[in-house]
Amino acid sequence: MAIIERPSEEVALAPSSVPEVATPSTSYGIFRRPVETTGWKSWLFTIDHKKLGIMYGVVAMFFFIVGGIEALLIRLQLAGPNGTVLSADKYNQMFTMHATTMVFLFVMPMAAAFANYFVPLQIGARDVAFPRINAFGFWAFCFGGIFLNTSWFLGGAADGGWFMYAPNSSVAFSPSNGVDFWGLGLQITGIASLTGAINLIVTVINMRAPGMSLMKMPIFTWMVVVVQFLLLFAMPVITVALFMLMFQRSFDATFFSVEAGADPLLWQHLFWIFGHPEVYIIVLPSFGIVSEILPVFSKKPLFGYPLVVFSGAAIGFVGWGVWAHHMFASGLGPISVAAFSVATMAIAIPTGVKIVNWTMTMWGGKIKFTVPMLYAVGVIVQFTIGGLSGVTHSVAPSDTQQTDTYYIVAHFHYVIFGGAVLGLFAGFYYWWPKMFGKMLSERLGRWNFWLTIIGMNLTFGPMHVVGLQGQPRRMYVWTENRAGEGFFNIGFWNLVASIGSFVLALGVLTFLINVVISHRKGTAKAPLDPWDARSLEWITTSPPKEHNFDRIPTVGHLDEFFHRKYEDRGSGDHHEFHQVATGEEVVANEEAHAESHIHLPSPSYWPILLALSLPIMGYGIIFNLFLLFGGAVLALVSLYGWGLEPHTAGDDEFDPPTGAALEVAAHG
């Protein structure tokens, strides 16, 4: 339970002759638990979903930069024929880690950052359902990511591609510890994803504000829920696969050993049953963000909200039936190939629905092209390109020509960068004032947007050409005698792509500069409702107070905040909306009716300690089994400490005792 309250009714007083044997003590831990609300401890041990959301964002951004540098190195190597920037070995590690970092350490956690920060706010809750598990999830992700990247310094990173096909991932073919780091690192971040998924599902199902039926839920929250269900079912699959890999490599199992009668295709099926839903896991949160932003700046509700919700859910379902389209060339047999080919085409329909609905949302609107809106429109355009190139290789025979070439690289970068990452950037600009109380500069934002858009099209557009010209992926060099001549020669477009990648990097750099400039001292505070927004997260201060809402809002409409500001003065079929209140007034009204007795869970040491035990065990499996036992002991101790610790700190934990704590103590 998030809001931990002592039994609200007073403990029935025993008859006067019944003496109390002892008074309840509120703490069972040995150490004084952390209760700080400022300083480094308040971040390290926090269980506040907002702080955790911000930390998710910061760490994900760090890994974005890491992954970006890896990408730039790859592009440098491929800028000309027979590149010598990287050795074959380093190159293989680079593209493996680029994909792994971007997928698992940037896009997913960045989506988790938004989900963590905004889902409770959007549904009118004071925190997530399991705040400490939330903290644990973040630290598991953080330590898992660091663990994964330490492989660079401990004998080399994984070099089998992010898909890590067996048997190339076996010790015989990849003798360094890189694959072990990769498998264990992903296990650890997988734990983070799983716990986060359960947490958010429970939060959304149980903790919505009064009046918020599922069909009145903000679309971003909807998409997050779909994603969490996908995670919940996809993560166990990859976990099983990674366990098999771990046993194959560390304990001489023969799951993928052909000589022992195994079939290496097993790994591919396991990986893609996870891997394809993973695509939607990556992209759906951004769809949610875009679906939030378009109505706000078009001054219209989302066109066909139920359809967008259901198409999101449909993508979630159908996404499970199309994994083998990654394996059209694997030799599945014509029947399977045909079936998966058709299923893959079918998933284009709900995806198309989204694009159409976005377009129709803007149609007839009163559109303001702010930076978040630019990014949202950018998503529509760029993702459409990615989606359409996707349709071209849902046609299986055509796919056998295109798969494992740069055409695929182009396709999924349009989907992931154009769909997911641009959506995340839209989210940054849209929600920045809410999260930090400061606006990001619109001027720099436009530079950022255009550099990013031009950069990405320069980088990934040419890859279509290069791919159709027959350049396979994952080649550390290309040679001139296969490059061809004329306008569409591979060499020229590789160079263009490499140049584009630096333009793109410049775009990202602009964003970072924008952040720094906006947060200089003395910049103005953001207005409370800078975008004339529509949903619940704006009915509170910026940044929100620790308890989110002074009063839990009661919801009557899909776009509650909009309907509190605007009134329909029309009659019958004629609608005419007039502003009746400003955002500030709405928030002030809520503050005036603040609830008393708000109890929030307190910070805790245990989540971070438990998370810390995971990479220790990981190193243990790779290097020394004693370390594994050490980590296991730490995990057990942390689990037990966690179990013993009450949700809320007792008054004696504070020094001097605080009012909030005293309030709690009065009940205890």
Partner: protein
């Protein structure tokens, strides 16, 4: 190619005023999209790209081409429609002070339509797709079977001798047919339905000759099929497309299509018995060096140990991780080496063969590698230190991790004299 004129448009300058940015942005976006789509369409017109997926040279690739062309076109049209809609929106619906629009949540008929239209389009694509998937997988009319085995990082082919003693329907003129083993280049007769039965010795590889057919993974422990056929003699390039480890980029293949007469000649040449180099020549010294240094892994059919007079049989299983090394019996009959990564021909001679007309091609190819045309630079570098030229796990420090076996050709420490001898010997392997 209706959008080719878009290429002429220049990219929007970024230094326009804020108020103009939106409009310029639209144009930039449109331009970028047009460039992308246009380039996809134009890709078919490129010249001389040996792995161009839009230039079919065989029946299978042609069938794929016939299907994908309209699909790409449809996708392009849909894309243009969406872009146009966005363009109209950007122009028409920006905030010019109009009243707050109606808070409509959608129109049912419109939504159904937008579901129905893509569904119809996709259905239209799906039907021929399923048909072609079935057609490409039909193997009943096979006329020639060649086994292909992938390994790090080259391909080995062996031609199956059918029950009537022919190879691909060709009976050898002089000797009894026996399996031909070759690597790097597979030679097939024109107008013949060839079936590759592929597997792998170690990790998964993928066989892909873009101009002849789509790709097919070759998986250890499994046998997968791939049809190759062409009516045009020539060399068709390909590349392993499933990431297969360190030197994945250096794993290539070439398919050579020969007219039936030329193929008969090639076949007879391949089956010709071993002829030892004349005594006292450099090549004869090369034979001894070969037996001493190379024959542990590399097989030359019919080679006799000059000291013992017994047949030399290589046992690469004991030394090489994947368990095979290329058969060098007719090395100079093919014009590439080391996984088709380097040419045995000098660039000029190579261009001569590659650019030959279909009519002339057979003769030029069958000429093989002549001493004048030999690309000694790459071959010498290779013999001097193979792992330095092509990244391989042949490092002696790694032997422990690979059960004392190398993967790929190790550094042999050959002297320049030995290399001279070997090249002289190998030049006769035709």
């Amino acid at each position: 190619m209706s959008h080719s004129e878009d290429h002429d448009r220049t990219m929007s300058p970024l230094t326009t005023t804020t108020s103009r940015l939106g409009r310029m942005g639209r144009r930039t976006t449109l331009t970028a999209i047009a460039v992308t789509l246009g380039s996809a369409v134009l890709a078919g017109c490129a010249t001389n790209a040996p792995q161009d997926t839009w230039k079919p040279a065989g029946e299978n690739a042609q069938k794929i081409q016939n299907l994908q062309w309209p699909v790409f076109l449809t996708a392009g049209v849909v894309g243009v429609i969406v872009m146009a809609a966005i363009g109209i929106i950007v122009l028409r619906f920006r905030d010019k002070g109009q009243p707050i629009p109606e808070q409509t949540h959608g129109k049912a008929w419109l939504e159904y339509m937008f579901i129905a239209i893509p569904a119809v389009i996709l259905a239209a694509i799906a039907i021929p797709t399923v048909g072609l998937v079935m057609a490409l997988n039909s193997t009943d009319d096979t006329e020639c079977i060649i086994n292909v085995t992938g390994q790090q990082w080259w391909w080995e082919y062996d031609y199956e001798v059918s029950a009537d003693g022919t190879i691909c329907g060709f009976a050898p003129s002089a000797v009894e047919a026996s399996p031909i083993i070759t690597s790097g280049q597979v030679v097939i007769p024109a107008n013949t339905k060839v079936l590759l039965r592929g597997t792998s010795r170690d990790v998964i590889h993928s066989y892909w000759i873009p101009r002849l057919n789509g790709k097919r993974d070759m998986v250890p422990g499994r046998v997968h099929f791939l049809r190759l056929e062409s009516d045009t003699p020539g060399i068709y390039a390909g590349q392993c497309t499933e990431f297969c480890g360190l030197s994945h980029a250096n794993m290539r293949m070439e398919t050579v299509v020969l007219e039936s007469g030329d193929f008969q000649k090639w076949l007879d040449n391949e089956l010709e018995p071993y002829s030892a180099p004349a005594a006292g020549t450099l090549a004869a010294e090369g034979e001894a060096t070969f037996v001493a240094q190379c024959s542990r892994c590399h097989q030359v059919n019919g080679l006799l140990d000059p000291n013992k007079g017994t047949l030399v049989v290589s046992y690469p299983d004991q030394f090489v991780y994947s368990g095979a090394s290329p058969n060098l019996t007719n090395l100079m009959g093919r014009n590439t080496f080391a996984g088709a990564s380097w040419d045995l021909l000098t660039p000029e001679c190579r261009a001569d063969v590659w650019d030959a007309t279909p009519e002339e091609f057979g003769a030029k190819y069958l000429a093989g590698v002549t001493p004048e045309c030999l690309n000694e630079i790459d071959l010498r570098e290779w013999l001097r230190n193979a792992p330095a030229k092509k990244p391989m796990y042949a490092d002696p420090t790694m032997l422990d991790e690979t059960d004392g076996k190398t993967r790929g050709m190790p550094y042999l420490g050959l002297s320049e004299d030995q290399i001279d001898q070997l090249i002289a010997y190998l030049l006769e392997r035709k």
